[in-house]
Amino acid sequence: MTHRQKLACSAAVLAAFSCVILFAGFFAPYDFAAQDRDTPFASPTTLHFVDARGTLHIHPFVYAPRDSNQTTATNEVASERSYPLHWFVPGTPYTIAGLIPSRTHLFGVEKPARIFLMGSDAYGRDQFSRFLYGGQISLLAGLIAAILSVSIGILAGGIAGYYGGWLDGILMRGGELFLALPWLYLLFAVRAALPLHISQWQVFLLLISVMGLIGWARPARLIRGVVLSAKERNFVLAARGFGASDAYLLRRHVLPQTYAVLLTQITLLVPQYVLAEVTLTFLGLGVGEPMPSWGALLSSLQQYSVLSSYWWMFLPALLLIPLFVVFYAAADALQELHKSVPL
């Protein structure tokens, strides 16, 4: 596979995935906050094709959970009656990207049967729906925060590396200060200064700005290094000799050299930021219940009881692995492609 094909493939996968995330309301059979208190930690619903009498059905169906008065989940099903899977069913209302209201879901089953493709969590909420909705927050926040970090990094690292001298000193010492600060305590202080209720948008902005601002120092150092070496290259010195301005040199010759570093940084930062959100949520700075986020979905795995008893709670983590692999593949292909293009 050429780099171009690899890039096209991974871009297509990412686009398709983003689409599903964007239209989470349509693909998710339930609302992310809907609790079913009779089915906490229900295992993933099995789709059946053969019923109890041995008859084959072309259309898949599910069984309803057995009505039990037991206090803990048993995951038993009542196989007397089957509930076929329906397509394009009306259900709880939602909006697409916060704009277009709708009630149609891709699939669903009649009550009292439930379809939990990825099982249910401690409150009997559908993990699959929560995974899709969670992506809306995590992926976007992770991406924007990574871009923010890297942008500040380019600015600070580029200026520091190119101009050197006292500017370099100030910017890099400032960066070191950021690396050395005890963030945990600073975040406590930030949380204490903020009002207790913050709207979802504010939380989102807060997440992005906290993650973006904390993370700029490392990319800035890397970029400074690249710029330092790039500005001494012969073709840069030649261009300077011909009278090129600083802005032109930076834009045309120096910053493009940092391209590879930038891409690797972004791809490394996105997954890191998805996990950073777990910590922020613990400090009261993340999205609160019942809003899902990937960080929140992963954080339930921190409990030993969940880890050792309910394998389906790993599914969000397992789904994220191929996603990030595609992410890295795309970055890799971009970088290779860039290398092979003659300057």
């Binding site: 906050a33 409150y123 207790l196 400090l283 609160g288 219940e289 019942p290 030993y304």
Partner: protein, 582 residues
Amino acid sequence: MGKFRLWRTCLVFIVFYCACSAARALPPQQSGEDRMIAGAATGHAGGRLVVALRSEPKTLNPALALDEPSRDVIRCLTADLIHINRGSLKTEPSLAKSWNVSRDGRQYTLHLRRGVRFSDGQPFNADDVIFSFQVYLDEKVDSSQRDLLVVGGKPITVVKLDDYIVRFELAQPYAAAERLFDSIAILPRHLLQSTYQAGSFSQAWSLSMPLNQFAGLGPFRLKEYVAGQRVVLERNPYYWKADRAGNQLPYLNEVTFLFVPSEDAQVIRFQSGDTDVLSRFSAENFAVLQKQQSQKGYHLDDLGAGLEYNFLFFNLNDPGANVPPEIAKKHAWFQDLRFRQAVSAAIDREGIVRLVYSGRATPIWDQVTPGNKLWLDENIAHPPRSLDRARELLKSAGFSWKSDGSLVDPHGDHVEFSILTSSSNAQRTKIATIIQDDLSQLGMTVQVVPLEFRAMVERLLNTHNYEAAVMGLVSGDADPTSEMNVWLSNGETHLWHPRQEKPATPWESEMDRLMQQQLVTLDYSKRKRLYDRVQEIVAEELPVICLVSPNILVGAANRVGNFRPAILVPYALWNIEELYVQ
């Protein structure tokens, strides 16, 4: 009163009898010592018990220890004058072999055991008692016990009558006075007096001190401390209790406390057999451990409801005149009893029991849990969850619903508030999340805000900058006097409106009167009636909306004998002198 005294006389008699019979069975060098005879089955001497602590003890100084790990270790090293038996929840003689109360209930005369020695071999007598109480009552030491020892606004006075008789004088009669002595460790005067007089008592008995500086009257003494890893205790050869066969207690040679920082890690260590006893763990982990119970050689006990009660409460502090209208309107909702009743009616307590505690908890409607059988008011109503009733109550309070189902107050403002929880307590955060969903069915918008524990307490008790919170309290004792601070309107932990100068509401002033009165009433049934009324007020006025009481869950390796867990702190190791390993 009559019954009370009769019981006490019987007890004194039994103890006297036991002491006499024990003296015969003791080895000759121990004669002259007033041994106490423990009631448990006879075990084997020797062996080692390993227990995990959540963190390193901060200090071994009984006057300064506030954290649970420190207290757990100190309990093994020290002894008190009168002890609450965790099994029976009643008082029993400890270092005081008997005591009598003056007719007016203000003077307690305690007769101390003779021939008792500290773990370094030095004798114990009334001077140690006088010294210990002098330390605890010293304002400069700032001990946590001081509050307990101030009765009716005046500190208890302690008088030495002779080397083995001490008299305690109280400013007013005090119903649970005997229970006060529980867990007040007697300190060795010969080791600590010089430090105390030099004014450096607050540095005494930190873990970094040499081991020969420590001595106590408990079943064990300090053997080794490895920073960051463990504290090892060894058998105290001078301990003053014996078993029924006359063998000196404790049975165990050594107790090792390992520092294991998280609950999950403790569960894993217990499961793999690294530790012998486990307490304070969640119902989910109970279920995990239960699966391997038979193969792994341990057993688990569910003791039923303990004394912990979890509740939701609203900020009922006086907001003052200069608050912004958006905060004032919320205070108006919270102050309305019908609003609080509607919230209480809408909460699915059974759902909390099932989802948060896997069924190992009991729904409650007032502060006394079913575990506290002596004080539970059976007549408190247990209304089931009813959204219809909640809607009616809201309607009668002037609330209404918009077409999209959201609840608005009489001024047309949407009902929206936040619930604080501690982010380190997964159960309470889960409770809040369930309440959030319950109340959304009434059209309220509720946000759950988990905060770091200290940040939350700061808001609740000092800045009052919050709207509602989910909290839990666990009393150290079943007696209502241990909760004076919570129910008195001027109390430090009168959570919904602490430190009032005078009671803000008629029911709070009634509660103050009842609590003060039960404190000085000596007759149990009269006190019970007074405290029943307090429970009724809590259930009617809902200053705190009580939700669930989790069960006390403990586990122990099968090889541990005499293991008799109790619903009082410390759930598992309270009778450590009687524990043995097979």
